[in-house]
């Protein structure tokens, strides 16, 4: 099979393993060869496990892996080796999966381009002068360039979906509470979720099946696990009601990206879905609410880094993380709490209410993941507010706690575009159903970058 096995999806790989047509040793050898060849230019991995004997997955460096360095792409955690595994890692182990490496990301997952890593930016495999998106940029690049069978990322405001869109892979942010966060280095605790980044929708469903489920170590994760019932999520989308929010197609959306998304929606209609216009009137306030809630929770979570129990001193914290700690400390400080955090939490209620209302009429909501395709490295690094605007279509799902999927749906000037499919809370099944039907009807996921 040679190098070709690295092109296979997880589902295809499992089949070959089961039929004993390939061994895990061959699998790891093939992936390690590619990592050795391409990682120096892409900078997707910060650490590579050369002795892997299990199915090789790429794990974002904010997820604790016992015995493997876990730095959150920060100098403050350089050399840190967790003494325990995150719950998702334990769950993967029981399926015969282990980290072939830890992937680069924005420091402590704070960023939307991958450039905030203290260990250098990850390059987009489709065009190495472009960003991968972020924060799970290394995981996205590793999947897109076949340097792993699949990857795990984390999503606080779009950090799985947006880099998936910008690198042409499938990315799923599960509902808040679906997957345990135990062992995930916390960023904003009321929003963080771990999720799969894969080569196909079927793979995303399978990985969600593996990693989800209640966990005594995360009291917000009490739901039963997502169970894979192919007869339901492979059922096609005839008569399914697909909502299109007019607010996601206004000013700021690149006209070429808009065209690609509109074509994808037409495709869904051809497949039998009923397209319904919906309104999410508070969308325009989501970003402002998000940039109060996130820094506030960040400032609290980052207080634990004191250089005593683990890690180095606070002078090692990078610029974007410091910026958010500062902002959050300010918005939570005496006299400002009501004006900022409490106000943002009320706006969050309204944003969630918009979705509740829309989902009375439709089964899923679709639109763009990102207003543009991947931009040039360095283009937005000096302007945090412009960088934040790249997350405009993804953050609402985190505020509302609902699941979201990015599925490859075409290209604009040679760069991938992702279709976002949002669903009701804990209804990952229906968004996977739409993603699967779309994927089966198109060939976008089969396109690979030339390295």
């Amino acid at each position: 099979m040679g190098n070709d096995i690295t092109k296979l999806t997880l589902t295809e790989t499992l089949k070959l393993l089961e039929e004993k047509k390939v061994s895990t040793a061959e699998l790891n050898k093939a992936y390690l060869e590619r990592i050795e060849k391409y990682n120096p230019q892409l900078n997707a991995y910060l650490y590579v496990n050369h002795d892997n004997e299990k199915i090789p997955a790429a794990i974002k460096d904010v997820i604790s892996t016992k015995g493997f360095p876990t730095t959150a792409s920060s100098k403050i955690l350089e050399g840190f080796i967790p003494p325990y595994d995150a719950t998702v890692i334990t769950n993967l182990e029981s399926q015969g999966v282990r980290a072939i490496g830890k992937t680069n990301c924005d420091e402590f997952a704070m960023g939307g381009s991958g450039e905030n890593s203290a260990y250098g930016a990850t390059k987009n495999p489709w065009d190495q002068t472009k960003v991968t998106g972020g924060s799970s940029g290394g995981s996205a690049a590793a999947v897109a360039s076949d340097l792993c069978v699949f990857a795990l990322g984390s999503d606080t405001g779009g950090s799985i979906r947006q880099p998936s869109s910008l690198t042409g892979i499938v990315g799923l942010k599960p509902s808040y509470g679906r997957v345990s966060r135990y062992g995930l280095i916390a960023m904003a605790s009321s929003l963080d979720q771990i999720g799969p980044m894969t080569k196909s929708v079927e793979d995303a469903a399978l990985v969600l099946d593996w990693i989800s489920g209640s966990d005594g170590y995360d009291s917000n994760c009490t739901k039963e696990k997502f169970s894979l019932t192919p007869s339901r999520w492979k059922a096609g989308i005839k008569r399914l009601k697909v909502g299109v929010p007019k607010e996601y197609f206004g000013e700021g959306l690149d006209p070429k990206v808009k065209q690609v998304i509109e074509d994808a929606i037409k495709k869904l209609e051809e497949l039998g879905a009923e397209i319904v216009e919906v309104s999410l009137p508070h969308s325009e306030y989501a970003l402002a609410a998000y940039y109060i809630i996130v820094p506030s929770e960040v400032s609290s979570n980052m207080a634990r880094f004191d250089g005593i129990r683990y890690g180095f001193g606070r002078e090692k914290i990078g610029p974007e993380v410091k910026r958010r700690i500062m902002l959050g400390t300010y918005t939570l400080s005496t006299g400002y709490y009501d004006e900022y955090y409490a106000k943002a939490a009320k706006v969050r209620t309204l944003i969630k209410g918009d979705f509740d209302k829309a989902f009375e009429k439709v089964d899923v909501i679709v639109g763009p993941v990102s207003p543009t395709t991947a931009w040039n490295l360095g283009e937005k690094v000096d302007d945090p507010l412009t960088m934040y605007l790249a997350d405009i279509y993804t953050i609402s799902a985190n505020l509302a706690g609902i699941p979201g999927l990015s599925v490859p749906c075409g290209f604009s000037e040679g760069l991938p575009v992702g279709l976002q499919i949002l669903g009701k809370q804990f209804d990952e099944e229906t968004i996977l159903r739409v993603g699967y039907a779309y994927e089966q009807a198109t060939d976008w996921r089969k396109e690979k970058p030339k390295l």
Binding site: I81, Y176, H282, M326, Y330, S333, R348, T349, L399, G401
Partner: protein, 97 residues
């Protein structure tokens, strides 16, 4: 809302963040811009709206009060910058630096 350099210094002290003078100036400008942006929330009517702090619907999740195995002392101390006699070593809290 505009932040002065002195306010930035004060916030940095609260956050225990060592900042250079250059950073203080940069953050004063950048944070002011972000605060200006988020001020648009003031135009949203949130009268009688309850805040949402958690979307999982969970409240006071309890477990049985039973002990279970946890990390060994050696594992817990494995990443400490300084450990002695099975304890973390830190600067004295009440001593002058």
């Amino acid at each position: 809302m505009s932040l002065t350099k002195d306010q930035v210094k004060h916030v940095a002290k609260l956050a225990n963040l060592p900042l250079t003078s250059e950073e203080e100036e940069k953050y004063a400008e950048q944070l002011s811009k972000i605060l200006e942006y988020v001020e648009q929330l003031n135009s949203v009517d949130t009268k009688d709206i309850e805040p949402t702090f958690n979307v999982s619907g969970q409240e006071n999740v309890m477990r049985k009060d039973e002990t279970e195995a946890s990390l060994s002392q050696e594992e817990v101390l494995s990443n400490a910058s300084k450990a002695e006699n099975g304890m973390f070593v830190t600067k004295g809290v009440f001593e002058p630096e």
